[in-house]
């Protein structure tokens, strides 16, 4: 019964969405409103006003910074929800002895070989993310994957020790916090949310800071998911 209800809701929502999509101008058609007014304006002044060398980043972190802020908050909320569920499972779950079975030596050695390159790739995505389109989030996801792989090799305990709980508690929230600070600073100094200050290098620095916050937030969300799953029956 509940399944049928859920299916009905999904079908209705999907129908509404499809109806909405069918009203959109065909993608790429030059006479859609988006292409005639908004896009032209972005392309004309986007790089200069946005402070980022890349147009996609300028749109993501400046023109649509409020949207991005919303996305960051959604990810953070998902992390909080999973941690809440995971922690309740933790207290009920049967206690198990620490692993008898060591990780496969093949997996272990291959991770040891690849990890430095994955780390460099993650930092590349985060730090150069404002030059190339949309890097911070992907970079953070790779960083999170790297931490999870390292926890296979070094054991989750050592990863937990590397990320001590109080620091982790606040850095998990780093992305929403940094975004909120930027927004409020813009409001206070220039009169509107997410206003960026004048010298170009300062703008670029702030954008790198935002990318770093997104990246670290994404990484810790991923690691948080994994560690709560890992801790479920054990330790």
């Amino acid at each position: 019964m509940r399944n049928a209800l859920a299916l009905l809701i999904v079908i209705v929502l999907a129908g509404l969405m499809m109806a909405g999509v069918s009203q959109l101008p065909p993608p790429g058609s030059p006479d859609g409103a988006v292409h005639r007014h908004v896009a032209a304006h972005y392309i004309d002044g986007g790089t200069e006003a946005g402070g980022a060398p890349n147009l996609v980043t300028a749109v993501l972190l400046n023109y649509r910074a409020l949207d991005t802020y919303g996305e960051v908050v959604v990810i953070f909320a998902a992390l909080v929800a999973v941690l809440a569920v995971g922690l309740s499972g933790h207290s009920r779950g049967p206690r198990r002895q620490p692993d008898e079975l060591p990780v496969s030596p093949v997996v272990d050695r291959i991770i040891r070989l690849l990890a430095p390159f994955i780390a460099l790739f993650a930092l590349f995505m985060i730090l150069e993310g404002h030059v190339l389109p949309g890097g911070g989030f992907q970079g953070g996801v790779v960083l999170g994957a790297l931490l999870i792989l390292l926890s296979l090799v070094l054991g989750p305990r050592r990863i937990r020790r590397m990320l001590p709980t109080p620091a982790l508690f606040w850095t998990r929230a780093i992305a929403p916090l940094v975004f909120a600070l930027t927004a409020i600073a813009g409001l206070a100094l220039a009169g509107w949310l997410f206003a960026l200050p004048e010298p170009a290098w300062l703008r670029e620095l702030i954008l790198v800071g935002l990318e770093l916050a997104i990246g670290i937030g994404a990484a810790l969300a991923l690691v948080g998911f994994y560690l709560s799953l890992e801790a479920d029956h054990h330790d």
Partner: protein, 108 residues
């Protein structure tokens, strides 16, 4: 002329890669148990992906794209057998018993 030759060669590589991917898919669907399916997918995925990426690298020519494709080829060549091994070992230690011909005279 040599351009045509290069494109033809790239096309052959990509087509061969697609053939191997198809074999991997059929193997995944038809073979009788998890270990046999891993045989098919690990080998065919590694070979198919590397062949297609080589073909694409030929088309892209010397470019920033090509070095990334080479990095991807190295990643797949290392990760494909490792992932195959990790999954096989997982099944093995979870107690998954391999399919044998004596027990199941009729395959599939």
């Amino acid at each position: 002329m040599s351009e045509l030759l290069l494109t033809t060669f790239a096309a052959v590589l990509i087509a061969a890669g697609c053939l191997f991917f198809l074999a991997g898919t059929i193997g995944l669907l038809r073979l009788p148990d998890f270990y046999c399916r891993l045989h098919a997918t690990t080998k065919c995925d590694a070979v198919g992906a590397v062949l297609i990426l080589l073909g694409v690298a030929l088309i892209a020519g010397a470019d920033t794209q090509t070095v990334r494709i080479v990095a991807l080829i190295a990643l797949i060549a290392i990760s494909s057998p490792t992932a195959g091994h990790a999954l096989a070992r997982a099944g093995w230690h979870a107690g998954h018993r391999p399919w044998t011909r004596e027990e199941n005279d009729e395959p599939e």
